[in-house]
């Protein structure tokens, strides 16, 4: 049956469009969306235990059906468009936050390329400017937030939108610089190439690039508007920031975008600094039992990738349970006066280190 489809479409469309479309469907509906829904529950549960309470526990055993109830509620809620809003922009804004966050997953490898030709690559595509594509796509979310805040024509939204735009572009600079230092070590912008470079070097890039990783992750937390950098939606001063006027499904999309961005930041951190889909110390023979030789190799690769991403997501939630919120001037100082000089120093040291060795 597949052969006849292949003949009908021609190899270009078959391998370029149909196979990726199936992989995208699996990634989206088996991977990203369920992970996001249950990440929300996990966050509320973990925060609950951090604060010595139980968290959601009414809907289903251990609150396990809570996310489904939440989605149903958001779907049937009244979908307010304020009467003074700029309608088309108001509708467009949440889509601009979610869409790019999803599309980034196209270049993130959750597993190795196929061992033999015609096999299954465990990523949707591998382009030679993968990292640049991720940076470019991640930037589009800024438009979503500022358009959302602007088009609502409400004072809280406007201030929240401006704040989040200023915050996100401020932290994008040190984040970009931190990525440059990692690229110096990897010598490739392809995400698969970066993972392979770490295996070849025999060490996760987090060790030579500790400062770079630190800058990347702190900037990443700020980029995804999470605690302690959640000023754009600071309840105590801005009600809800840029999404004050949003309700129902459109609010849900903003929410989805924030969590998708958390996963993107974690996945890129894993790929760049923590060896992607390989087990810890992939060159040490004594640890080869961690490859679980009795299981299919692809499954093990996805398992290690997922374990590392979940560890990062836990750190995100841990941050939220631990740190108080920054003040806006402190936030700007940290970004412009600390992170940028540190990131430039990191580039200099990394380049010098590469030159000497």
């Amino acid at each position: 049956m597949m052969e006849s489809v292949l003949e009908l479409l021609g190899p270009e469309l078959y391998y370029g469009a149909l196979t990726p479309a199936l992989k995208i469907a699996v990634l989206l509906f088996v991977g990203i969306l369920p992970v996001i829904t249950y990440l929300v529950l996990a966050e509320r549960k973990i925060l609950g235990y951090i604060q010595v309470r139980l968290g959601p526990n009414r809907v289903g055993p251990w609150g396990l059906l809570q996310p489904i109830a939440d989605v149903m509620k958001l779907l049937v809620k009244e979908d307010v468009i304020p009467n003074r809003a700029i309608r088309w922009a108001f509708i467009l804004a949440p889509c601009l936050v979610v869409g790019p966050a999803f599309v980034i997953f196209a270049v993130i490898p959750v597993g190795p390329p196929a061992a033999e030709p015609g096999g299954l690559d465990l990523f949707i595509t591998d382009v030679n400017v993968g990292l640049l594509f991720i940076v470019a796509m991640a930037t589009i979310a800024v438009y979503g937030l500022i358009i959302g805040g602007w088009s609502s024509n409400s004072k809280f939204s406007l201030l929240g939108g401006l704040r989040s735009a200023a915050q996100m572009i401020s932290y994008e600079v040190p984040q970009g610089f931190a990525l440059v230092a990692a690229l110096l070590l990897a010598g490739s912008m392809s995400m698969v190439g970066i993972v392979e470079a770490q295996k070849a070097a025999g060490v996760w890039f987090v060790f030579p690039q500790f400062l770079g990783f630190f800058i990347y992750f702190v900037a990443g937390v700020a980029e995804s508007n999470r605690n302690p950098f959640d000023l754009p939606e600071a309840e105590s001063e801005l009600v809800a920031g840029y999404h004050t006027e949003y309700s129902g499904m459109r609010f849900a999309l903003f929410f989805l975008g924030e969590y998708a961005n958390m996963i993107v930041i974690s996945a890129v951190a894993v790929t760049l600094y923590f060896g992607g889909w390989y087990r810890p110390f992939p060159n040490v023979e004594a640890l080869s039992f961690l490859d679980f030789p009795f299981l299919p190799a692809g499954l093990v690769a996805v398992f290690w990738f997922a374990v590392k991403v979940f560890a990062f997501l836990f750190v995100y939630i841990w941050f939220r349970g631990t740190f108080p919120r920054y003040r806006f001037d402190q936030l700007m100082d940290l970004g412009w006066k600390w992170m940028i000089p540190l990131a430039l120093l990191n580039i200099f040291l990394t380049a010098l280190f590469k030159l000497v060795l």
């Binding site: 469009a17 995208i24 049937v76 009244e78 979908d79 270049v107 809280f156 129902g248 499904m249």
Partner: protein, 118 residues
């Protein structure tokens, strides 16, 4: 270019997903409470002025301009980092001169107080 086709497919899937979820919400949503519910939120008062008629701090523009300068720098650094092995010492010195010029500007901006908020 064949590598980029899946990205196009993904963009298409994302657009379809967004359209489907918004249309589903439109079919299922509550009818709503009428006019007062659609006023901009202002702690229960009817707003006297529109938000877009107000002015806001010039610092947001300043941050945006500074961002453009530094981000263009990043764009130059990306290909340099990938090709570093071939460029070797020459590339290293050249890029350090470029960064040094940028740092001079950065110090100037800092001393002029453009990085101070409030």
């Amino acid at each position: 270019m064949a590598n980029y086709l899946p990205i196009l497919v993904f963009i298409l899937v994302a657009v379809l997903f967004l359209a489907a979820s918004l249309i589903a919400a439109r079919l299922l949503r509550d009818a709503g409470m009428g006019r007062t519910n659609r006023e901009p939120y202002e702690c229960g008062n009817e707003p006297e002025t529109l938000a877009l008629d107000h002015r806001f701090s010039i610092r947001y523009y300043l941050i945006a301009v500074l961002f453009v300068i530094f981000d263009v720098e990043t764009v130059f650094l990306f290909p340099w980092a990938v090709m570093f092995d071939q460029l070797a010492l020459f590339g290293f010195i050249e890029m350090m001169i470029f960064i040094a010029i940028l740092v001079v500007g950065y110090i100037y901006v800092w001393k002029r107080g453009a990085l101070n908020w409030a």
